[in-house]
Structure formats: C-alpha cells, structure tokens
Amino acid sequence: MLTKRIIPCLDIKDGRTVKGVNFVDLRDAGDPVELASVYAKEGADELVFLDISATEEKRKTLAELVYHVAENINIPFTVGGGISSVEDVAVLLKNGADKVSINSSAVKRPELINELVAKFGSQCIVVAIDAKQVNGHWKVHLVGGKVPTEIDLFEWALEVERRGAGEILFTSMNHDGTKNGFANSALAQLSELVNIPIIASGGAGKVKHFTDTFKDGKADAALAASVFHFKEIEINYLKEQLKKEGIPVRL
C-alpha cells in the first residue's frame, strides 16, 4: 500500500539552513547536508529545500548544495525558491534534485508549467500554492504569501493539474506558523477536486495535527519545518503514532 509521506522542510539562505535548528548532535547546525542526513536517518520520506536567498550568487550556490545533498542522501528531495525558467530547472535536476517546486513564477506565467512538464515530465514538477481565506474565499498569494491576488485557490489547482503538474504543495497562510493544525477542510476539498497528490503545509504543532490532516484533510503527504527543527516532534515517533491510528506509513 502506498504510504503517507512526512516531509521536513529546510529553509536555505546562501547555502546554509536558516531559522533555528535545535539538534544537539549536529556539528554544524547550519549545514543543510548534515541536517538532511539526520532527517533521512530518522525516517523522513522526502525533503524539501526552500531557497530564500536573494543574492546574485544564488544559482551557483544552490546548484552546489543540490549536488552535495544528492551525493549524501538516499531519499528523494525537492528544491524550490525563485525558480522561473527551464534553464533553472535543468541545472537543479542535472545536479541531482528529484523534483522542483515552482510558485509565484507559475502564477505570473502559467505556461511555465507546460514547458517544464514537456521538458522534464510531470513527475518532477511540484506547484506550490500559498493561499489565504479572506471572507470565506481562498485566494492565492504570491511572494511567500505577502502579495494577494484575485485568483481562487481551487480554480488555480485545477489549472495546475490540467497543465500537467505532478503534485500540489498547498500552504494555508491562515494556518502557517500557528501550530494549531493544518487547513483540513480546504485540503480535503482540494484532494477530491484534483487527481494528483496533495502535500499539506502550514500549521503543524503536534502529532494529532498530522493524524487529522491525513484522515480529515485527505492529504497524501504532510510538510513541516519548526516542529522538526526544534525536536518538538521526532519523525520516528510521529510515524509510530500515525501507524497506531491506522495510517499507512513507512517504518
């Protein structure tokens, strides 16, 4: 049986992990490769690296990072952050990334999805969608959730699927950072609307939130950052609890 995936997300700036990382057993808490190895050993099913740097050297640094991650990690990983062209993606895949995630660039120019799918295949194109519920309507937001648009989340999800994306990574701006649980009703709606896997993101605070997002939110995977970085939840423990709840996981 296909299992539900647990995906830690690492924020990267200039080739280093940022935000607090609270692993006593790390020699260098900022080293993405070392942190990724720990997660892989603890049972993470996949990893997401989100590059938030804005320097000119960004592309080269990111390609080098991808190369070192691929060299050392034997589970799949996705790279996102500022990817906007076929060339950007070619470099990352060539260096060993399994998938790339695009966000604002796809909203600005939706044909980008078709171009990437035609060149690299659906299986490696993840479209990340940040959305916020305003007056009962889920609206897509850009630039890490800062810039609102008039685009409806569900219409955009359908378009993304039609254009050939392999997966959708949905982050609820209403839930992100709250640690009060995932946006399960929107997630369930999305999951029934489209026929590609949905990764839930935003709101993880405790084990029950993961159980709920798989059961009520019908998510195929769940992504989180701080609960893993600060060891509030250990991945092995999380997956054991999910198994007890009857959710299929890889242990």
Partner: protein, 194 residues
C-alpha cells in the same frame, strides 16, 4: 568493476552515480556502443516520457544494442518500461525484452503514484536479504502488469510488476537510488550478480 550508466539524455543520472559511489564503486556515463558492450554491469535509467525516450534510443542505435547485451543489465523506472514490448505513453514500441505492455494507472487512484510503497513476492537474487513488504520509492503514471517475468509485486489500484527479470535483464519500477537502505542493498545485490 566496470559499471556503465547508459547516457541518452534521460533522467536523473547523477543520483544513480552517487548511489553507486556510496557502495564503493564508480560508474561512468556513456552512449558509446563499445564502452557499453564491454562493461561488467549496465544500468539503463530513465525519467520522462516513453515515446521521446525511445526516439533518442533509436537515433543513437542503442535500441539495437541493449537487447543484445550479455552482462547483467538493470533498467530503472522508465528504463524498465522501455524494456517491455510497448508503452501506452506516447503509443510507442519498446525494446521487447520483457513480454509485457505498459499501461496507465486507472483514475480510481491519484496519478502519478508518488511515494513509498511495498514490494512482495520477491523471487530473485536481486532481492537477496530484502525482507518481504520492504518499502521502496516510486514515481510513475504507467505500470507493467504482472507476467511470467515478474520478480516483485506492488499494489496501487491494481497488482503490478515492481520488478522484472529475463535472463541477464533486470528491471525495477522503483528508484533504488532513492529508496534509502533497502534501495542500496538492492543495488549492491545487482552489482554482486554472477
């Protein structure tokens, strides 16, 4: 050991190279007929679309070479699918090593299948020391049904071939290079085949 990964411009080859390096070997990328013929092990990767991948193989004459190789050959993901008779993807003929026709998953499940699934019915040295129901990582929309060459079974909407074998030819639908320690062990088994 001389390990060649067939380079025909398809797929995430870097990860396979790294996985082999972690086992203590170096693999070279090549599309050179002589170099491939003379290798001790041949890995036939592939990610992407079937009909365009077949076109690339035909353009370089590799479609004639691969079915005639004598050493152990391992097709991975699309590589395995191309070793079958045909694929529904792009309605293309395959290399006809495995007597199966690759078809698309039904819409009753999400397509592509992405993630970790289990393998069972393991019947080959390729799975030496691999426990039944081990988890492996897959990303695919098309599958090879069960057949006489099936050496591992997985389930997603249907029971399908997670791995195939005929003589010196092996194919795996999953990505051993991304399947954690289980995947490394399977690659190690492939390198140890005699």
């Amino acid at each position: 050991m001389n390990i060649v990964i067939i380079d025909y411009g398809a797929g995430n080859i870097q990860s396979i190279k790294f996985a082999i390096r972690r086992l203590g070997f170096e693999a070279v990328l090549s599309h050179d007929v002589e170099e491939i013929k003379n290798a001790d092990r041949v890995i036939f990767p592939g990610v992407g679309e079937a009909s365009s991948a077949m076109e690339k193989l035909r353009a370089s004459g590799l479609d004639q070479l691969i079915p005639n190789l004598k050493q152990p050959v391992l097709g991975i993901c699309l590589g395995m699918q191309l070793m079958c008779n045909s694929s529904e993807e792009g309605k293309t003929k395959g290399l006809a090593i495995f007597d199966l026709d690759v078809v698309k998953f039904p819409k009753s499940e999400k397509v592509p299948q992405i993630g970790w699934n289990q393998i069972s019915g393991l019947g080959s040295k390729l799975f030496n020391k691999i426990p039944d129901r081990s988890h492996i990582y897959l990303v695919h929309s098309f599958y090879a049904p069960l057949g006489k060459e099936t050496i591992a079974i997985s389930e997603y909407a249907v029971s399908y071939s997670a791995a195939l074998r005929k003589d010196n030819f092996y194919g795996v639908q999953f990505h051993p290079e991304k399947s954690s320690d289980v995947g490394s062990e399977i690659l190690k088994n492939f390198l140890s085949l005699c």
